[in-house]
Amino acid sequence: MATLGSIPLPTEAELGRRDRGRLSASRRRLALLVLLGLGTSLGILGLIGLIVVKGLPAINWEFLSSPPVEGMTAGGIWPMLRGSLLLMLGTLAFVLPVGILSGVFLAEYAGHSRFANLIRSCNLALAGTPSIIYGLFGLAVFVLLLKMGTSLLAGWLTVSLFALPMVVLTTDNSIRQVPGSMADAGLALGLSRWQTIWKIVLPNALPGILSGVVLMTGRAAGEAPPILFTAGIYYSTAKLTYDVDMIHKPVANLPYHLAEGYRQGGVIPEKIIWGTCLTLMLMVLLINLGAILVRSRMRWKQAS
């Protein structure tokens, strides 16, 4: 009854047919995967290729460093590039400390309490909220209620709010991935909770945190909706200034320039639009590249 082999196996010929069937099914599925992969890669490469081919002829030092002239129909995009860089730096300055400290609080102090999980859920929901909602919130609260007007400051705050949830979640995750044995080692050595977090846990998590922060800042810098009503300006002949006062003024920027430039239909030459497109793409690409370099350098320094 319970002896091994009491149920007869299929014949060798039958098994051979089954094996051939399994092998060919395996090959068919693999081929499908390769096709899908190639298709996706080609799509992305095509998109990037198109922008590079169309945009590259427009880009030169002159284009990047001079303002538009003749009612936006000629000249460069320096004010927009400057605006985007300013927006990004300010966002980074706000998001870096606030996001990281919130993440540390969530991971190390709030743990898995009901309160902490509520905050995590909220952050998750906020991270998935369309950026136009942030734009309208910024308009209502920063621009109108707090009377900041359409300004760099209102833009910073709005873009920061947009980037913050993702940064908090990344920090929380990176810290919780640090093995508990690290914290054990610090505490057993007699370090205080804060010293253990600051000297051991956080440096361990930092490569992950930084790449999250920078990637998110790069993405936020490319978004038009958050700055649409809070900081953006399309056409200005005002002289660019670099003083404290500039945070109260609106700034031109790359995504807004693209959106408006296209909507105005034909005012801005196509060549300039493609050039702006490529500039924005390169800017985000450079930021991401920087993040990758910083991260690998840090990992390498910690481990070798």
Partner: protein
């Protein structure tokens, strides 16, 4: 260097740590049941017993690292210098400065060998400059790691060392804070025989000036390195005494069965 020469009847000893009626409950488990024992000063004590018998729980109760485990409830006393370490007013940082710990899996920090060892003295004593250099070197020498790392210990990461070297780095890191008591939680269970032998030599060399408590699954190791052995089962202390007696002539049947390899 002091070797563990054992007589049938050990000389009376002073207790470095006295455990009295210690009970530890985890969420739904009574992990330690009314354990009382003295850890003799300047000696090596081994905790042995089958997995889940409570020996690591007891070890982690001695420097209050169990405080970290959610749902752990601890009652009873652990006396250190005449003070119950579970007193409300206990300075945890001072306690852990005086009672160091080495873990089962070596856990060096992701920084240079020098920084690994220097962190403790910097944080506790504010040591810097030449004094710090001296402390780090001494600690590395005492952990028998100096000769292997002296050429690049300022630059090389602790994570770039081999497993056995990492464990000795963790020992150096702990020695640099100058603990009186050293707790080791299966310090060799992830190491090869040669690295294990080096750690065992270290344990024996550190005894005398330090009090050591070593949790181990390796019975011959417990017999080789420890003056005293405590045998645990199901959260209870079954037998505690001089290692020669516990291994050669135990008074309990279950100890006899365990040390002769009949179970465990």
């Amino acid at each position: 260097m002091e070797t563990s020469v054992l007589s049938e009847r050990p000389a009376p000893t002073v207790a470095a740590l006295s455990v009295r009626d210690l009970n530890v409950h985890y969420a739904d488990k009574h992990a330690l049941q009314s354990v009382s024992l003295d850890i003799p000063k300047g000696k090596v004590t081994s905790f042995i017993g089958p997995s889940g018998c409570g020996k690591s729980t007891l070890l982690r109760s001695l420097n209050r690292l169990n405080d970290r485990i959610p749902g752990a409830r601890i009652d009873g006393r652990v006396e250190f210098h005449g003070q119950n370490i579970y007193d409300r007013k206990t300075d945890l940082l001072a306690l852990r400065r005086k009672i160091g710990m080495v873990f089962q899996k070596a856990n060096p920090f992701p920084m240079s060998i020098f920084d690994n060892v220097a962190l403790g003295p910097k944080m506790h004593y504010g040591t810097k400059g030449k004094d710090l250099d001296q402390i780090v070197e001494e600690a590395l020498v005492h952990a028998a790691l100096w000769d292997e790392v002296k050429d690049d210990y300022r630059r090389k990461s602790g994570l770039a060392l081999s497993g056995g070297q990492q464990q000795r780095l963790c020992i150096a890191r702990m020695l640099a804070v100058r603990p009186e008591v050293i707790l080791m939680d299966e310090p060799c269970s992830a190491l090869d025989p040669i690295s294990t032998a080096k750690i065992e030599e270290l344990v024996v060399a550190l005894a005398g000036e330090h009090t050591l408590v070593v949790v181990t699954h390796n019975l011959p190791q417990a017999e080789r390195i420890s003056d005293f052995t405590a045998f645990f089962m199901f959260g209870e202390l079954v037998e505690h005494g001089s290692s020669s007696v516990v291994f050669a002539n135990p008074s309990q049947k279950s100890t006899q069965d365990y040390v002769t390899g009949r179970f465990g």
